[in-house]
């Protein structure tokens, strides 16, 4: 570990993951470096999970499963690709993936912003509970499955079974949708939604994209009451 210009540098080639996470967790209690660089992540799992501090962590390279899982307050950036469940169950803060993200990105996340500059694989935003997800590329099948609240913005395309069994999440897709899941329908893009969409694109720093190009998807709410007519 070394400190350079007030940035704490941790080399995962020589430092055990446990040591890194423990040091990051200790920041919840008090003082310590606010800016961190993690080098040589080499796809390690569970990097920077369980953070609860106003800090910035840049992971220079590829991260494995559950990177920044259950994040609170922290700003985490992965310069490479992210494995399964990046920012799963995030409560607040911001997680950015410069590359692509594997499946279940932002799963069950309650708050904060997950920004994926590349594509996200299947089940992006599964069971989403209030967070915002902005994907500059496309998303895989079964995304927003049983998504409850929050918003998902997709600048590219969505694969099959989008929003299956979803609740009240707002889904905005700019490109094509291969197919909608059970109870997911096209919905009107009203002023509220245009403002929400514009705000999320701005938060992600995305410019040159017209909100009018997006289509909103949401729940038909037919599955909200369990009855014989809406079993599949």
């Amino acid at each position: 570990m070394a400190t350079s210009a007030a940035i704490e540098v941790v080399d995962l080639a020589v430092t055990p993951l446990r040591d890194l996470n423990q040091r990051l967790h200790d920041l919840a209690a008090g003082a310590g470096p606010r800016s961190w660089r993690v080098v040589n992540p080499s796809g390690a799992h569970n990097i920077a999970c369980g953070l609860d501090a106003d800090i910035e962590v840049v992971i220079e390279g590829h991260a494995g499963y559950y990177c920044a899982g259950m994040n609170k307050r922290a700003t985490v950036r992965i310069t490479g690709t992210a494995g399964q469940g990046v920012a799963e169950n995030m409560m607040s803060g911001r997680v950015t993936v410069d590359g692509n993200a594997s499946q279940a990105a932002g799963a069950t996340a309650h708050g904060g912003l997950l920004h994926i500059r590349g594509d996200a694989s299947s089940r992006c935003g599964i069971s989403l509970k209030g967070a915002s997800i902005v994907v500059e590329g496309s998303i895989g099948h079964m995304s927003a499955f049983m998504a409850q609240t929050g918003a998902i913005v997709v600048c590219g395309d969505a694969a099959d079974a989008l929003g299956d069994s979803m609740y009240e999440t707002h889904i905005y897709v700019r490109g094509t949708v291969a197919g909608l899941g059970a109870d997911c329908i096209v919905k009107e893009l009203r002023d509220f939604h245009r403002a929400e969409l514009a705000g999320l694109l701005e938060q992600a720093g995305i410019t040159g994209v017209d909100v009018a190009d997006f289509t909103r998807y949401g729940s038909a709410r037919n599955l909200y009451t369990f009855k014989i007519d809406n079993t599949y």
């Binding site: 799992h45 369980g50 494995g64 499963y65 899982g69 599964i126 409850q148 069994s165 009451t225």
Partner: protein, 444 residues
């Protein structure tokens, strides 16, 4: 006794199409939807009643009644956790959600369990402050739905239980019908009030044992390797599930037999999926023994535990502890005779009530109706639960002493015989009066 005054010897009820079966066909034809209910399996399956203890005799030396020491303590989670749970008795309270149960009922579970030094478990829907406040040792469930999942609660918990399945519905998700989705339940689950809410049957961010291993590592990292991590499975392919749970890094494996309770599940699921608790225990123990992990990864067994005899028999077969759900609710006052008139008003009766899904529980336990919940006294309920847990423990100790054991964990399969061929085969103990264990060399 036949209820019909017109009955005569010429009337013969069909064993195949008995009155209950006929009534169910008629209900299905009328309503067009399957039956959803609470409680657990009601059919007869081989169970602990089919086992007997061999008390001490010439070749075994008993311990003195209630006086000589017979230990009951158990440590859960000593494999990896830096802070394992230390329980005074090996009877824990199984996961039951706030949502399925009222707030006062959850409080009573915490009060009763804490009074006798054991743990409670959260359930689908998150952790409530009342529950945390009244449970000295609280296990926080990580379920497929992740309703109310919060890293702060994860760190506040004393142990974590990754729920893969439950005995009442292995492979099935859950349902909380709209009339139990109050403002508070809706807020905790991030859902609209009043809708019929599904709990997913699959975890959202892992899909197999290799993923589960990484998921468990994540939970350990988030909690700095302090908390014991349980993996709970419904009893089905128990041998393989237990081996995979151990491989994935579990500190404790919870095996819930098909008799395990539920708040709301299809009747066809409750009665027809999973294997009974009795055969599940030897399968789990065999899996642990083959990995040299028996007593190192602790085994908690649930599903139909009712008495100290059941506790002692489960432990003798190799469990480290048991968990109770339905029995705990009955101890609190569920199905109590004083509510019989109220039960009858909603089409049931004391001793039969299983409509936990409906939220109209006259005992104020399985409800979110504030007026009904107010009928339940959590202090009194907690005291009754503590009494019941004490009786379970005393009964188990009595049987253990009779077998000459100075600790419940010294009970062993050799102390047991079976009354039926089926129970002998499933529990892997000899049929009484013989040395015969059917299927001893059989498969899984």
């Amino acid at each position: 006794m036949h209820p019909s005054s017109t009955w005569h010897p010429g009337l013969r009820e069909s064993a195949l199409f008995d009155r209950r079966t006929i009534a169910e066909i008629q209900r299905a034809a009328r309503e067009g939807i399957y039956d959803i209910r609470g409680f657990g399996a009601k059919r007869h399956v081989p169970h602990f009643d089919d086992l007997l203890f061999l008390g001490a005799s010439v070749s075994r030396y008993p311990l003195e009644g209630y006086r000589e020491r017979c230990g009951t303590d158990v440590t859960l989670g000593s494999r990896f956790a830096s802070r394992p749970l230390e329980l005074k008795i090996p009877v824990t309270i199984a996961g039951m959600s706030f949502g399925a149960l009222s707030g006062p009922a959850k409080e009573a579970l915490g009060r009763g369990a804490s009074e006798v030094g054991t743990s409670t478990t959260t359930g689908d829907g998150g952790m409530t402050p009342e529950e945390r406040g009244h449970s000295d040792q609280l296990v926080y469930q990580v379920l497929p739905s992740r309703y109310g999942m919060n890293p702060d609660d994860l760190r506040r918990a004393d142990a974590i239980e990754v729920v893969v399945g439950q005995g009442a519905k292995p492979g099935g998700g859950g349902m909380l019908l709209g009339h139990k989705i109050s403002d508070r339940v809706a807020q905790m689950r991030d859902l609209p009030k009043g809708i019929d809410q599904r709990s997913a049957c699959r975890h959202p961010d892992w899909t197999g044992p290799d993923d589960l291993e990484i998921k468990i590592q994540e939970l350990r990292e988030i909690t700095d390797w302090q908390k014991p991590i349980y993996v709970k499975v419904g009893a089905t392919r128990t041998y393989y599930d237990v081996q995979l749970a151990v491989k994935a890094g579990a500190d404790v494996v919870v095996v819930d037999g098909m008799q395990g309770g539920t708040a709301a599940t299809q009747d066809v699921f409750i009665e027809h999926v999973g294997i009974p608790t009795l055969p599940a225990i030897p399968l789990a123990v065999q899996a642990l023994q083959e990995l040299d992990m028996h007593r190192k990864v602790q085994l908690i067994v649930s599903g139909g535990i009712r008495s100290g005899a059941d506790v002692a028999k489960a432990i003798a077969l190799g469990a480290d502890a048991v968990a109770i759900g339905v029995a705990a609710l009955i101890a609190l006052g569920d199905n109590a005779p004083e509510h019989d008139d109220a039960y009858r008003e909603i089409g049931s009766a004391a001793g039969y009530y299983d409509d936990y899904q409906a939220g109209r529980d006259p005992a104020g336990i399985s409800t979110q109706d504030p007026d009904l919940a107010a009928r339940f006294d959590p202090v009194k309920g907690g005291r009754k639960l503590a009494n019941y847990l004490r009786v379970l423990t005393l009964e188990a100790q009595t049987l253990a002493r009779a077998c000459g054991k100075s600790h419940l964990h010294n009970l062993e399969p050799e102390d047991l015989v079976a009354l039926t061929v089926e129970a002998a085969a499933m529990a892997r103990v000899p049929l009484a009066g013989t040395t015969w264990i059917p299927g001893q060399n059989g498969g899984y």
